[in-house]
């Protein structure tokens, strides 16, 4: 790779500058979490640590094209940032004994710190703290997402903005605000106390899952320029799972993402229209990704604390992932998993999905009873899939007239063109063979 990534060669052509910028960006993506975590421990504040790290990054962009990439680029960036911090304290005449000691240590260790620069145990704990702080409940969900991608994932504001289809300035503001909020709330650089650990962990996992789902949104005209934000969410989830081997839900989230992502290639047609699970070409599912999902779910199960909401969803996704076809799917097992999920995390949408699984495993009559309860409950009023499912069940029961009414309601409610077309085709099918649906 000497020709392509050693920017030490002379020349300031735009191509060289771009090459250097990409080399710096690559190092940053790999090292940012460790660098910011280390600096936060040094200066005591995530926001300031991130600012210092960004200054070091600017310095790298200036120096590396001329002097070459240092042997230990992460240590170099950290040392430069620490020196900046000390310069700042000096300027503000706050170089008290503590900082004098730090400065002394730094000068003694030197910028080109040895390979022992990172103490693996300390740095793991610090990265974990960084993740918890980025997803802290004093921050809005949007701020948590932006901060996590920026300081844990190492994405630039531009990349985050492209991923979320918003202006770069919006992301920059969110990050600035998030840093100010963390400072104002005096959020400590610590892993949460036991009494709040579960809720804080849930927040971290939810942030990662939201980022993942952002990338899963149906393709739009601009989709091709969006960075692969789902892949990044999956990488971060693997990172968190690696730091929390004893947390089954962290492993399960990885499993759920792997199973979901394994269907990415099959989820849309050539023209970009979404294809529903039962109509996807399963030969296009990524088998090695499915295997990784199963391994992650096994890791979760091996902890021996049972399955949580992510574990149950992952198990449902696995049932689909390993089935050769819709008919080959273990629907009875999916029903049981949905029952458990519905008790752990009650939701009418989960109940509707359970009804579909019941229809597949024991038939439309018992599924219709669940759907009718949902209709009476009224919590899914205006939700197109409800009449769509009910219409399909009635069609299978041979109650053609009622089926038509439900499917027509679904057509009126859906905002998805593909879904509308498929519903209209179903209605047309009713007219062609009014008494055919008796399965």
């Amino acid at each position: 790779m000497n020709e392509t990534d050693a920017p030490g060669t002379v020349g300031s052509a735009p191509a060289d500058a771009d090459r250097a910028r990409r080399a710096v960006a690559a190092v940053w993506r790999i090292e940012s979490a460790r660098i910011v975590a280390t600096l936060t421990r040094f200066v005591g504040d995530v926001g300031q640590a991130e600012d210092l790290a960004q200054e070091a990054l600017v310095e790298a962009l200036r120096q590396w094209p001329v002097e070459g990439v240092p042997n230990n680029p992460g240590a170099w960036l950290t040392a430069v940032a620490k020196r900046r911090a000390i310069d700042g304290w000096r300027r503000r005449e706050r170089l008290d004994e503590r900082y004098a000691a730090m400065a002394h240590d730094l000068e003694r260790d030197g910028a080109a710190a040895s390979d022992t620069f990172w103490d693996p145990d300390t740095i793991d704990d610090d990265i974990l703290r960084l993740i918890f702080v980025s997803c802290h409940p004093v921050l809005s969900r949007e701020a948590q997402i932006a901060l996590t991608l920026r300081i844990v994932g190492g994405l630039s504001s531009e990349e985050i903005a492209r991923a979320f289809l918003v202006p770069t300035a919006t992301i920059q503001q969110r990050i600035v605000r998030a840093k100010k909020t963390l400072a104002a709330a005096k959020v400590p650089f610590e892993v949460p106390e036991p009494n709040e650990y579960a809720a804080r962990l849930a927040s971290v996992l939810q942030v990662l899952y939201l980022i993942f789902n952002e990338g899963y949104l149906p393709a739009t005209g601009e989709a091709w320029v969006r960075p692969d934000v789902s892949a990044e969410a999956l990488r971060l989830a693997r990172m968190v799972a690696g730091l929390m081997r004893r947390e089954p839900e962290a492993q399960s989230l990885v499993a759920l993402m792997e199973f979901t992502a394994s269907r990415f290639a099959a989820r849309t047609g050539r023209d970009g229209t979404p294809i529903s699970l039962d109509e996807q070409d399963r030969s296009r599912w990524d088998r090695s990704q499915i295997a990784r999902g199963s391994e992650a779910l096994e890791r979760a199960d091996r902890v021996g604390r049972g399955r949580g909401a992510y574990g149950l969803q992952a198990a449902i996704a696995e049932c689909h992932a390993v089935a050769a076809s819709v008919d080959d799917t273990d629907w009875a097992r999916i029903v049981v998993l949905y029952e458990a999920l519905g008790r752990l995390a009650p939701s009418p949408v989960v109940d509707l999905n359970r009804a579909v699984a019941v229809a597949m495993s024991t038939g439309p009559a018992s599924a219709l009873r669940i759907v009718d309860e949902l209709v009476q409950g009224g919590r899914l009023a205006g939700y197109a899939p409800l009449p769509a499912v009910r219409g399909e069940l009635l069609r299978r029961l041979g109650r053609t007239g009622e089926a038509r009414g439900e499917l027509e309601t679904a057509v009126r409610l859906t905002g998805n063109e593909q879904e509308r077309a498929s519903l209209l085709a179903k209605i047309a099918g009713l007219a062609a063979s009014p008494e055919s649906g008796t399965d």
Binding site: M1, R22, A26, R29, R235, L236, R238, R282, W285
Partner: protein
């Protein structure tokens, strides 16, 4: 994007490798793999046994001829690989540079084709998708 890091070493490197303290080699590779796992980028990886156990199917003639090693004129032996997730070729290069290998060894870094790299309406591409489905995920992540 997915990249394959293909490890190749010449005879001298293989010999030097055999003279190293095995536990140190294992520890260095273990630490490297751990860093890949902790960064969430490791998708798969395997090391290969001694090339003497391998054999060659040579397509210079028809039908192809099966010969025992050694590999004729090949001076660099393929002895292992990693598959990693990286957002750019530079990031893949940065990971490759961190691998604990010495003189005489090389890592060739290649981007893995996705089905999207090919015209989707080709009959053989469609069939390959089918074969891949049947292969049932032989490339899982290595056991921890």
């Amino acid at each position: 994007m997915k990249y394959m890091l293909i490890m190749r070493s010449n005879d001298a490197a293989v010999e030097a490798y055999e003279n190293l303290d095995f536990t140190e080699v294992i520890a260095a590779m273990g630490a490297y793999n751990e860093s890949l796992i902790k960064a969430g980028v490791l998708l798969a990886g395997e090391g290969l046994t001694d090339a003497k156990e391998g054999f060659v199917v040579d397509f210079d003639s028809t039908p192809p001829v099966v010969t025992d090693g050694p590999y004729g004129e090949t001076k660099e032996l393929f002895n292992g690989f990693w598959i990693i997730q990286a957002s750019s070729p530079e990031e893949a290069a940065e990971w490759a540079k961190r691998c604990p290998l010495g003189p005489g060894s090389k890592l060739e870094v290649r981007r893995i084709t996705e089905l999207e790299d090919f015209p989707q309406d080709n009959e053989w591409i469609q069939k390959e998708a089918g074969w891949r489905a049947e292969a049932e995920g032989k490339l899982g992540t290595p056991a921890e």
